[in-house]
Symmetry: C2
Subunit: 120 residues, 2 copies
């Protein structure tokens, strides 16, 4: 099973491209069902046309952020409308989340840093 | 001291507005110095003109995301150039991060969900 966690910043192409910022608060219920669905959604997103990468973190406080990157708004709309995904969206509202916010953003500029071996 | 953590999605105005998505991997060093600086940066950002809110989560894996929201690119540029902030940016590269990625995004659409009491 693919993990829903990510352990490095996503490697994305030069801007512009698109980001979906999903910020959520878990209600603590059904941890195993939630974890299974989250992993499956990552697996499924990666198969979508236009998927560029994702980053995901959940704090000890319960707040989580998942940012997925896409080549176009059309790809985001297709992913949003995917049947298995809409099913899980409904379960999210019914079972797993106290609250969430979704933001669709156009990435205009990006830069990165990597510590060189032996730098510190 | 203000905590650098956030425990709910930020309450932001109707789009368009701007987001800075900061995704980082900690190297594990200097936890107390890092926590102090992170809390201070939240405190300082909240005082900046044009600050709209932020969301922050760090995973057990070490990957963290901090998303700050702003009214304009000019506000982001001012915050980036703040002297105390540029000092902490340098410390971040020298002491605390293995890698990071910064993305400046224009938020085009947003929607949210809150579970109603008694719904589930």
């Amino acid at each position: 099973m693919v993990s829903s966690a990510s352990d490095a910043p996503a490697r994305t192409p030069a801007p512009p491209y698109w980001a979906v910022v999903f910020t959520s608060v878990r209600n603590g219920a059904d941890e195993s069902g939630y974890a299974r669905a989250a992993a499956r959604m990552v697996e499924l997103a990666q198969l979508q046309r236009g998927y560029l990468g994702h980053e995901s973190a959940r704090d000890a406080s319960g707040l989580g952020t998942t940012i997925s990157y896409w080549d176009s708004q059309e790809s985001i709309a297709r992913w949003r409308a995917d049947l298995e995904h809409t099913d899980v969206q409904r379960l999210g509202r019914e079972r797993w989340y106290s609250s969430y916010c979704l933001r669709v953003c156009r990435v205009e500029r990006a830069w990165s840093f990597e510590a060189r071996p032996g730098e510190c």
